[in-house]
């Protein structure tokens, strides 16, 4: 036990201290008001936007958190998360159509499929870094996309996989039906909270710190004794599991698994959401998903050229606001004065920017 602690502590010391990270003990105190805000948002959201849109927001928030884990925390930009999203969605869909599988079973199955696919694909991808890594994730995504496109007997091809029921939630003797959009929203929000808590635990744990140390400086992390590739692989697999989980929820949204579920368009959307929300911050993907989904629906109803606005937003974020909405809020809060003269570690330092300051070393 002591040895483990010593190893961990020395590793953390070697990685430049906890300055830029969300230290576990400190985050507990600062977490509470933010969690309350999150709960309030969950309750208020279906009133602000339709339950249908709200459910999608939480679904993509889960996928966004997964990408955030590998991009924001571990420094690997994956442009192929839709692979796991789609594979899980198709698996769940097929299970529900052909075997009338119950809800919890498909959720578990989808998560497993996501994790397994990520483990296999991730193993190949993490052998490379940088552009190669991105292209590999992208390439695999394309491969699975074309397979889904052509294997129409199984996936329905371009038309998608229709006829997916919404099995009731079976908790012991209770069977709660989820037919209405509001009921489904409550279910999605609940499991989102679950996923959020799990992700928070991961991120706050020593594992999370190791991930961040890899992003900060992989050479140093390796020098300290961490098997960088192995941890990258773990991060990738965990992300795949979360993304798969989200995919299952998506399959039950409209009773159909559309082909887009596995296309790189969704991979791109997830990247946007995380970036616009604020990478490296646990709440970033949530803000990003909310902003993205709400805006896309609100604007595209009025003007079909919504992607233009999205593109402009992305360019602006990349050039001027790399911490995304989280950074925007933080800046506003700091500008408005307030007692926090000293920047709170973790929450307000967008991890993405931290890479800049480390560039010298």
């Amino acid at each position: 036990m002591a040895e483990e602690d010593a190893g961990f502590a020395s590793g953390v010391r070697a990685c430049g201290g906890l300055g830029a990270f969300e230290a576990p003990s400190r985050s507990m105190k600062s977490a509470f008001p933010r969690l309350v805000l999150l709960l309030a948002a969950i309750v208020a959201l279906p009133l602000a936007v339709r339950p249908v849109v709200a459910s999608e927001i939480w679904i993509f928030a889960i996928a966004g958190m997964a990408l955030n884990l590998i991009f924001g925390y571990t420094g690997m930009l994956s442009f192929g998360q839709a692979t796991f999203f789609g594979l899980a969605a198709y698996t769940a869909g097929l299970m529900m159509i052909h075997w009338q599988a119950p809800l919890l079973v498909v959720l578990a199955a989808g998560t497993l499929v996501g994790a397994l696919a990520a483990a296999l694909i991730g193993y190949v991808c993490i052998q490379r870094v940088g552009t190669y890594f991105i292209m590999l994730t992208f390439g695999f995504n394309q491969m699975f996309f074309f397979i889904a496109y052509k294997w129409t007997v199984v996936t329905g091809g371009d038309d998608g996989l229709p006829g997916i029921p919404r099995p009731p939630l079976a908790l012991g003797p209770l069977a709660i039906r989820l037919d209405s959009s509001l009921r489904y929203y409550i279910f999605v929000a609940a499991v989102f909270l679950l996923a959020f808590c799990v992700m928070k635990r991961i991120v706050d744990s020593p594992l999370g710190v190791i991930f961040q140390s890899i992003r900060e400086n992989p050479v140093r992390a390796a020098a300290v004794g961490y098997d960088v590739k192995r941890y990258k692989w773990i991060a990738f697999t965990i992300a795949g599991a979360f993304t798969g989980f989200a995919g299952v929820l998506y399959s039950m949204m409209f009773g159909i698994v559309p082909l887009e579920s596995i296309s790189w368009i969704i991979s791109g959307d997830i990247v946007f959401m995380v970036l616009i929300g604020g990478i490296g911050n646990l709440y970033g993907p949530l803000l990003g998903a909310a902003a993205f989904k709400w805006l896309s629906e609100a604007i595209s109803v009025v003007w079909e050229r919504w992607p233009l606005i999205l593109g402009v937003a992305l360019v602006l974020v990349v050039l001027f606001l790399r911490g995304g909405l989280v950074e925007a809020f933080t800046r506003l809060r700091d500008a408005a004065g307030g007692p926090r003269a000293r920047r709170e570690p973790g929450a307000s330092v967008p991890v993405g920017i931290a890479a800049e300051t480390e560039a010298g070393s």
């Binding site: 339709r50 038309d159 959009s181 009773g255 709400w294 629906e297 109803v301 079909e304």
Partner: protein, 407 residues
């Protein structure tokens, strides 16, 4: 933005904004208005068709002076983006925020399969015109209807009548768009072809929106067919036709677009590329029915071009729906459905009958052959109608809709 007037922009912004904020859309006299939703493609592979469908539906509603059974009609549209996720999300959102109970569209068979699920779950009246047999087949339910002819009937009309005029053309090569629509029309082309001893010397399935047809045309040319049967959709038809001419395959070999849009395509092709081009279609503006004639006149006066399949279909579905509302004296989905079922009446395609067991509309299908330039009486006189028929009806036995279900 040119399809949106400033007033339209402002009103929809306010409506969208307030509806997305949970406030009932301002200006809706809740309960009195009948809200009709047209889900049309304004982006994606079928982006050019959306505005045409919009015109057709508007035309029908305007003919009724925007009112039916004494209540005002509110017509709203949503862009399905030719994506199943957008189609379903927007349909559901419109049902939630605008109180939509009548949905017409979309255009793509793939989207329709998604939308029909929503219609079934949310119990709204749903009318579609398309080539997939599944809407009135495997995926049938009490709330969904198909306006287009059954692909069984359509392919028979095309194949039987083509073979009557060209009995020696026994070698056919198929191009099939690889989705629900393509599969249905391919299935029945082969079935109809079997009766004539047609040899299908080859077939290629390609995704909707394929731009690179050279490979497929090369293969087709190598198989030496008499007929190149185009069972694809959208711009693919135009691209395949041009490529077939580029490779010297056409006009020697007949180009037969068995489930086509007709007029919209004719206007994109020039005289040379229309040579030996045959089209099977649900709606040609030259149809000889009083409703069709009048509609073509009104449409042409308004838009300076004759209506093709798309606006005629939108018009036809809307008109029948409004008449059903009038017949039932109610705009509730259940009542509209009961009014439509088993109704035999005269409408755009001539005589129509809605089969209550499958909700398939039994009506005429057209086979057209493009005219030579010296035969054209005016600039839009593209084709002769060489055959019109509503027979053979699809036998209930082979239809996969076994139980249309309850309301």
């Amino acid at each position: 933005m040119n399809t949106i007037t400033r007033r339209h922009f402002l009103t929809t912004t306010v409506a969208a904004g307030t509806s997305l904020l949970g406030v009932p859309a301002l200006g809706t006299a809740q309960g009195k208005e009948i809200v009709m939703l047209g889900i049309w493609p304004f982006t994606g592979a079928f982006a050019d068709v959306g505005p045409l469908l919009d015109r057709g539906m508007k035309l029908a509603i305007e003919e009724w002076n925007n009112k039916v059974i004494g209540r005002p009609i509110k017509y709203i549209t949503r862009d399905d983006e030719t994506k199943a996720s957008s189609a379903t999300r927007r349909m559901e959102e419109a049902i939630d925020s605008e109180g939509v109970k009548i949905v017409i569209g979309p255009w793509s068979s793939g989207m329709a399969l998604a939308c029909t699920e929503v219609a079934k779950r949310r119990k709204v009246f749903y009318y579609f015109s398309g080539g997939t047999e599944d809407i009135a087949g495997k995926r049938c339910h009490r709330y969904g209807f198909n306006w287009a002819a059954s692909p069984y009937t359509a392919m028979h009309v095309v194949v039987d009548n083509y073979m009557k005029l060209n009995p020696t053309h026994k070698r056919w090569y198929l191009f099939v768009s690889d989705f629900a629509f393509g599969w249905s029309v391919e299935k029945y082309t082969r079935e109809a072809g079997a009766h004539h001893g047609i040899e299908f010397v080859g077939a290629d399935r390609m995704p909707l929106g394929t731009r690179e047809y050279s490979g497929f045309v090369s293969k087709a040319a190598a198989a030496k067919p008499d007929v190149l049967c185009l069972l694809n959709a959208g711009q693919d038809v135009i691209v395949s036709i041009r490529e077939a001419h580029n490779f010297g395959l056409a006009p020697k070999v007949t180009l037969l677009n068995s489930w086509g849009v007709g007029t919209e395509d004719f206007m994109q092709l020039d005289v040379k590329t229309r040579e030996n081009f045959w089209v099977g279609t649900n709606a040609y503006y030259g149809a000889n029915t009083p409703v069709a004639k009048k509609m073509a006149e009104t449409y042409q006066a308004k838009h300076n071009a004759p209506p093709g399949y798309a606006p005629c279909a939108a018009y036809g579905m809307t008109r029948l729906t409004l008449r059903a509302i009038e017949k039932a004296n109610s705009a509730e989905p259940g009542d509209i459905i009961r009014a439509l079922e088993n109704w035999e009446t005269q409408d755009w395609p001539g005589k129509v009958w809605v089969n209550p067991k499958t909700h398939q509309t039994v009506r005429d299908y057209f086979l057209l052959r493009c005219k030579k330039p010296d035969q054209m009486k005016h600039q839009f006189d593209f084709a002769d109608i060489v055959a019109v028929n509503s027979e053979p009806k699809m036998p209930d036995g082979i239809n996969e809709c076994k139980d249309i279900g309850q309301l």
